[in-house]
Subunit: 273 residues, 2 copies
């Protein structure tokens, strides 16, 4: 199986490790890419080609793994002759996936989404679209792909909805526990909420608050895509306020150069800056 | 131990059962109260007195268990001579508790909050204030009181913060799963979120969405108190949007005369009305 990546950052290089171990051949084009991507591709012993059109001639499956803003251009860059399977695995809303895949004139198309951090062992990849089984062949080459529907937009949609929930909870925790901390009842509140939310609540809540302090700016950006996805169906008032809360946090904390050790340290930094 | 209730609704009548079984004497004033309260007091064989001032002369501890709007008047109604312990157990913000307790000129004062439904066996009651141990004597008479701090406002504050979190999660679930339902991926989304949130996630999420459909109007009101409590420390953007989401739901669903059987039924009713 010959697999080509458009973009060779963290997602591509991490998936490449599994693919190579399991006997696939991996290709990418590094012309015009960053030094970071070039070095990664060299380090992983990936075959390089001069252009994305050349890539399309070489491989059976193309995975687009670029920055969200580049997703549509990536699909356009392979030209109109590709007859294999094109997979959009970018962190973008269903509408953007649909726009990107319109550039694939002859090939098969798949919507895919990585659930959670790509660095986790055997990270789960959701796939949708009637051609998703073509992509799922890569399960024989070390990936962990689950087909969840026959429509383009479902896999990327689930990723957006998961973000809507988990990022909303993070923002809610910050708002609630900041007030608790100021009232001197934060420890007690973990117990009281933990009584109904389960024994993992405290650990998970603390981890989310610390992580929010460090990633508020990136999460604020991600919430814009979430709002777009939800607004097709309703007025996403929670998604809007989640973005607003991350904005309030990021405004003061964007200069952090490491994760705070505790959530109280994060709150203190937030107050001081 | 002689315990007096101001107000004799669900909270008072439920706590009375435990108190009487465990050897306390219970008093209340039913003059000018609703037939519902009169009947409850009669049914539970509670001693009645003609006025709240008379109540204050009879008992060691007074528990104020009235509607939120009546909390301050309740404290004023016992006059200025009460030397026992006055406990505000109402569902109100810390600021309202403080205002109410200012009317108790000579007695001891305690802030208390019922966590969860009063109908649960041995429901947890949090108490704060330096006189909280006086109230906690009722643990010898069947109650389940936990002292969580020495300041008035901490117990009622924790109740508000618990509401901030649990009601926020409910609103977030509604917003997220309504979009999932419209995209045809709601079942899959339970699995994907459940992977990180734990095995109870689906059951708990469904129960919260059904409950939100039925209680949206009351919850919207409760979120106003939560906003007041949080706004002493920060701009409560999540609490505002949680109120707004309950408002969106209540506008269409306020006429429900029973809980929907499923969350999909709730979403269907919401779309149709």
């Amino acid at each position: 199986m010959k697999v080509g990546f458009i973009g060779f950052g963290e997602v591509a290089s991490t998936l490449t490790i599994e693919l190579l171990i399991n006997g696939a051949e991996v290709f990418t084009c590094v012309e015009g890419r960053s030094d970071f991507s070039r070095n990664l591709a060299q380090e992983k012993n990936v075959n390089t080609v001069p252009t994305n059109e050349a890539l399309a001639q070489k491989v059976d499956i193309i995975l687009s793994a670029v920055t969200p803003a580049a997703a549509i251009d990536a699909a356009a860059s392979i030209g109109t002759n590709f007859k294999g399977t094109y997979v959009d695995i970018n962190n973008v809303s269903p509408e953007v996936v649909k726009s990107a895949l319109q550039h694939i004139k002859q090939g098969k198309v798949v919507d895919a989404a990585i659930i959670g951090s790509v660095n986790r062992k055997k990270v789960q990849i959701l796939a949708s679209g009637k051609d998703a089984p073509e992509f799922a062949q890569l399960n024989d080459f070390g990936l962990n792909i689950k087909i969840i529907g026959t429509e383009i937009g479902q896999a990327s949609g689930i990723k957006m909805l998961r973000s809507s929930y988990t990022k909303g909870v993070s923002a809610l925790l910050w708002e609630t526990f900041y007030a608790a901390y100021k009232m001197g009842v934060d420890e007690e509140l973990f117990d009281v909420i933990g009584n109904t939310e389960g024994s993992e609540f405290k650990k998970s809540a603390i981890s989310r608050m610390i992580s929010t302090a460090f990633h508020a700016s990136r999460r604020q950006e991600e919430m814009k895509e979430v709002q777009l996805a939800l607004s097709l169906f309703e007025d996403p008032v929670l998604a809007k306020s989640t973005e607003r809360k991350f904005h309030q946090i990021a405004q003061k904390l964007k200069r952090l150069d490491k994760k705070p050790d505790t959530y109280r340290e994060a709150f203190l930094l937030w107050e001081k800056l």
